[in-house]
Symmetry: C2
Subunit: 236 residues, 2 copies
């Protein structure tokens, strides 16, 4: 891959975006681009990293969807999160140098991988990059809010859909019509609901014309109503 490609490729990465907007010279930017490792395509079901493995790199999702999960004491899967294009996985592995969860590709995934050590070193020379990293980490701290609460199944589901919608929109995609890469079971697991409950909520939403969902295709017909439902969780 030549420089041009790399440059183009990396504009979708949060890191590069941040640094480019800081007005660094091309030589410095190149240092960042050298760290980038273009990984993929990773096929559905393949692991990106596994719990307990040594941490060495964080990665920005380029394409596809990644699921993170752990197996609890009874060896049942617990879904921790979903990562869409533009989002970064591995940040929770820094603190004790081991990945604390599995990361699995839900569909065909392309990644932008960075050696964290080298990136941190570079961050010392590029204040913008350091700030960006701190921000990225800080943002993830409060992220679990969706799960962190005794909300109704309807509210949880609405909040999930709204969040997904907003994240899609941030990538410039449609906010009201998208394709879910994850199964109902995974969503239910993530929302800490029984699959049966989620199924019933989806049905109710459909009968109330809030959404139209066939299998994986989803359309949010009344985003405003969903946002209203999700208010207690998302607070905006």
């Amino acid at each position: 891959m030549d420089d041009g490609d790399e440059m183009h490729f990396c504009t979708t990465c949060a890191f590069s975006q941040a640094c480019q907007s800081q007005g660094y010279d091309k030589a410095t930017l190149r240092k960042l681009h050298i760290l980038v490792e273009h990984i993929g395509p990773i096929k559905q079901g393949e692991y990106i990293f596994r719990e307990g493995e040594d941490f060495n790199a964080i990665a920005a999702v380029q394409e596809g969807t990644v699921k993170t999960c752990i197996f609890d004491a009874e060896n049942t899967e617990k879904v921790l999160g979903f990562f869409l294009p533009g989002e970064v996985i591995g940040l929770n592995a820094i603190h004790n140098s081991k990945y604390p969860c599995d990361a699995v590709a839900l569909d065909t995934v392309m990644l932008c991988r960075f050696s964290f050590q080298k990136m941190a070193l570079l961050a010392s020379q590029m204040p913008g990059l350091q700030t960006q990293l701190f921000r990225l980490l800080s943002r993830d701290i409060g992220k679990a809010a969706l799960l962190t609460g005794d909300y109704r199944a309807e509210q949880r589901t609405a909040a999930f859909l709204v969040t997904l919608s907003r994240r899609h929109a941030q990538s410039g995609l449609s906010a009201t019509s998208f394709c879910l890469a994850m199964s109902r079971t995974d969503i239910a697991n993530y929302l800490r609901l029984a699959p049966e409950t989620l199924s019933r909520v989806f049905k109710r939403f459909q009968s109330e014309k809030l959404i139209r969902a066939s299998r994986r295709e989803s359309e949010l017909c009344e985003l405003a109503s969903l946002e209203k439902l999700a208010m207690p969780i998302l607070r905006n």
Copy 2:
């Protein structure tokens, strides 16, 4: 306050510990100590920061206990966390330069405050400090695990007590006997349980001789049993 005092004071801060163990020279260390602002005593019920305020500093708790919370859409309080001595508040405020929650003193609190901007700048020159900051942030990402799950009230409560015990032990205090700075109501709120439910769980634990708790004093008589109960949540 003279330098000696400051030095002594700061040995309990995670930052200083990290940097001292890196073998920095005294001049560099002093740069870090200059950033420290010694705040307190803050009286029970006083706010350390409020939601929406501009972020400028993070702070390590020196003494006492801090509660973080927000008010949800229905204007009911939602407790997000408790911070014991040695723990750092404000990390979740970095990403958009506003505190996303309130921080309240639950008893008399002493703080070590750092301008984050200056600290980040210093971190560029001190790789050990930068690493420490990244670790601190990364550690908080997965921290909400206690709330993030559809666990039984007993398991939640056990996990809460065990976590508290471990955090106490880390400060060199007794792991089995301590004084809770927070009210039952706050604990219940934090664990997303009704106060009534928590009360019943405490009663059950006492009748099973797992704990002895009078008002605020708590004694964990069978830490092993509690840890077993909490296993599904804490995973060790």
